[in-house]
């Protein structure tokens, strides 16, 4: 059980800075997910931890050992790649034992490890096949087996579920979580899928352009985003971002104006206090779709506010229905129960829980 520590880690490719001075401490036994849009550097960061890329600056510690110059094989890690990276000319058995062979582990022990792991992952019948003869899901499990058999200090996953179909992805996601609960090893997991991040992580690191924007437990990332980027990235459909103006005594309201008319969203006392000193100024209001819903849905005692808008598009998803309307000149989404929905073109009376509204500074994107 080891902690992984990154101190001021930099990575430069040519003249391009891809990782810009990242500090990160991953506690022993944690399941940390690195999430972010394409090109944010999450895979690069994982490769740096694995030793598959050389550091341009800073330090990486795995456990007590400073691993900057330590080759991957000596870092006591195991990795599962997005495309699984199975050795195509070896059998499944050979793929799993390859790492043990290079470490001169006795045959008997190798056999035991293979039997153990193949039973866990239900791949006993596939041992003599070659990767080319396996389905995507089977290949993924073999890749997992190869990593498990290593019994490393740290597990590294680079988008291991991206190449699976949706149903399989959800199944394997649960398997991963069970595995982590059972083994309790420090795990670092890269994905672009924020649902995976939310369900698997003990802590999420939201990355953007070589920086970590926010690092915290899923609930905190979701409910307490530090800025517009994190707020907009997590959540599906994403948070509604509305531009408005502070109005009223002590910042009591946010006025949002558009073609359909003006709506004054009242701010609960805690939020109002944050903008009391900015009368008349522009502000960004963030409302997650699930807090804009049909009347009567919110718990009693919540600061609800009702407003009406005409619906542009109706999108039934099964468990709920999304109603798309216009707010403040841009598209907004509300979430209602399917039987409460109306047809497109009709007006609808939404009820929004303003306790869960968020305010952001329009210039910097920082949460107020």
């Amino acid at each position: 059980m080891v902690e992984v520590r990154l101190d001021k880690v930099w990575k430069r490719f040519g003249s391009n800075d891809v990782i810009k001075g990242i500090d990160l401490v991953i506690a022993s036994g944690e399941f940390v997910v690195l999430v972010g849009p394409s090109g944010c550097g999450k895979s690069t960061l994982l490769n740096l931890i694995a030793g598959l890329e050389t550091l341009s600056g800073g330090d990486i510690h795995i456990g007590a050992q400073r691993v900057n110059d330590v080759p991957p094989k000596d870092r006591d890690i195991a990795m599962v790649f997005q495309s699984y990276a199975l050795y195509p000319t070896k059998t499944v058995h050979g793929n799993i034992t390859f790492g043990m062979e290079t470490r001169n582990i006795p045959r008997a022990e190798q056999a035991r490890a293979v039997a153990d792991v193949s039973q866990q992952l239900h791949i006993e019948g596939l041992l003599e096949r070659k990767p080319g003869q396996l389905s995507g899901g089977q290949r993924q499990r073999v890749a997992m087996g190869r990593a498990l058999v290593r019994d490393p200090d740290v597990f590294l996953f680079d988008e291991p579920l991206s190449n699976l179909d949706a149903k399989l992805r959800i199944e394997m996601r649960t398997e991963m979580k069970k595995l982590h609960q059972r083994l309790g090893k420090t795990t670092i997991y890269v994905t672009h899928d924020q649902v995976e991040a939310m369900t698997l992580a003990s802590r999420i690191a939201v990355m953007d352009n070589g920086h970590i924007r926010q690092f915290g437990p899923p609930a905190e990332i979701y409910e307490d985003p530090m800025d517009l980027f994190v707020a907009g990235f997590m959540g599906s459909p994403s948070m509604n971002i509305v531009r408005g103006r502070i109005a009223g005594e002590g910042g009591a309201r946010v006025e949002v104006a558009d073609a359909e008319g003006s709506i004054s969203f009242p701010l609960p006392a805690a939020l109002a206090a944050k903008v009391a000193d900015r009368p008349g100024e522009e502000v960004v209001l963030g409302l997650r779709p699930e807090i804009i819903t049909h009347p009567g849905a919110h718990a009693p005692g919540a600061s609800v506010f009702e407003f009406a808008r005409s619906i542009d598009v109706v999108e039934p998803t099964g468990p709920d229905t999304l109603l798309v309307f216009t707010l403040g000149g841009s598209e907004a989404i509300g979430r209602v129960r399917p039987d409460e929905a109306v047809a497109a073109g009709r007006p609808y009376r939404f009820q929004v829980n303003m306790d869960k509204a968020k305010l952001f500074d329009p210039a910097s994107g920082v949460r107020l």
């Binding site: 030793g51 598959l52 890329e53 050389t54 110059d69 330590v70 080759p71």
Partner: protein
């Protein structure tokens, strides 16, 4: 290795291995360059220096006499006009042969892949096989045919021969390229009303420019460097440069003028060498395509 940035253990062992790597690579560079250097340096020496010095030493006194002689007055058989006239023979042979075989190969490749007709694949396979035959097996009948048509011993005969036997490769190159062009483009053009040749000239050829370059370079190299057809089907005045070179070097009368031999060899080899240096990438692509299956 591909794993570009993988962390490797630093230290003396790595440094030694790296030094060893460069040593071996450097040695092979010397081995590959040595003949070229020797050729050039020998061609710049006087005969006296050649006889007394070692073959690897650089010329003490640089003289271009051998070059002048190789170009103007070396004896090819009984004619002593140097290599020059034969170089022009080669040019006259190569240019039409390359142009025609490349063009026909392009049309062929296009027709075989973009206009499905029954037997297209068989035809292609049969043509492809033609690229692999040892030419010894067609030498005799070809000699008789050329004689029959009055083309024996002429450059025109060589042009015909090289065009015909170059078709297999040029068709292969273009077919492999056109196979990778989506059929959708041709369908759309057909719907727009374009015909066979319109599509070819306006759509396909412009897209195929890199393949055209690779094919031209490949054909140029193959045809310029050919010797077998040259010696079998031409006589005397119509010899291409490779045959003339061999005659100069193999002449057993009189004193062996090694410097002239070397100068002549360089002159004869210069065109293809220059093409390679200037367009090496395309050359390599041709090599790879030529080795790969159909």
């Amino acid at each position: 290795m591909n794993g570009e940035g993988i962390v490797r253990r630093k230290g003396a062992r790595q440094a030694v291995l790296r030094a060893l790597l460069f040593t071996v690579l450097g040695l092979f560079c010397l081995v590959y360059l040595m003949p070229l250097v020797v050729m050039i340096s020998t061609s710049l020496k006087s005969l006296a220096e050649i006889r007394t010095g070692s073959f690897i030493a650089l010329p003490r006194e640089v003289t271009f006499d051998a070059w002048a002689k190789a170009w103007n007055s070396a004896c090819v058989g009984v004619r002593c006009n140097g290599l020059a006239p034969y170089m022009w023979n080669s040019v006259a042979m190569v240019v039409p042969a390359v142009v025609i075989s490349t063009f026909l190969g392009a049309v062929n490749g296009y027709a075989l892949t973009k206009w499905r007709f029954r037997g297209a694949d068989t035809i292609f396979a049969l043509m492809l096989f033609g690229a692999f035959i040892p030419f010894q097996v067609v030498l005799l009948p070809m000699a008789r045919t050329l004689g029959y048509f009055g083309l024996a011993g002429s450059t025109y005969g060589l042009i015909l021969v090289h065009t015909v036997y170059g078709l297999a490769f040029t068709t292969l190159f273009f077919r492999n390229f056109f196979v990778s062009v989506s059929d959708g483009i041709v369908q759309a053009a057909k719907i727009d009303g374009a015909g066979f040749f319109a599509i070819f000239f306006k759509l396909m050829l412009p897209m195929a420019v890199p393949t055209i370059v690779v094919t031209v370079i490949w054909q140029f190299t193959q045809i310029w460097n050919d010797f077998l057809f040259g010696i079998a089907f031409t006589v005397g005045d119509s010899n291409p440069a490779t045959v003339a070179l061999n005659n100069i070097v193999a002449s057993s009368t009189g004193v062996k003028e090694y410097n002239v031999d070397m100068a002549a060899a360089i002159i004869a080899g210069l065109p293809t060498l220059l093409v390679y240096v200037l367009a090496g990438n395309y050359f390599v692509r041709g090599l790879a395509a030529g080795a790969v299956k159909g």
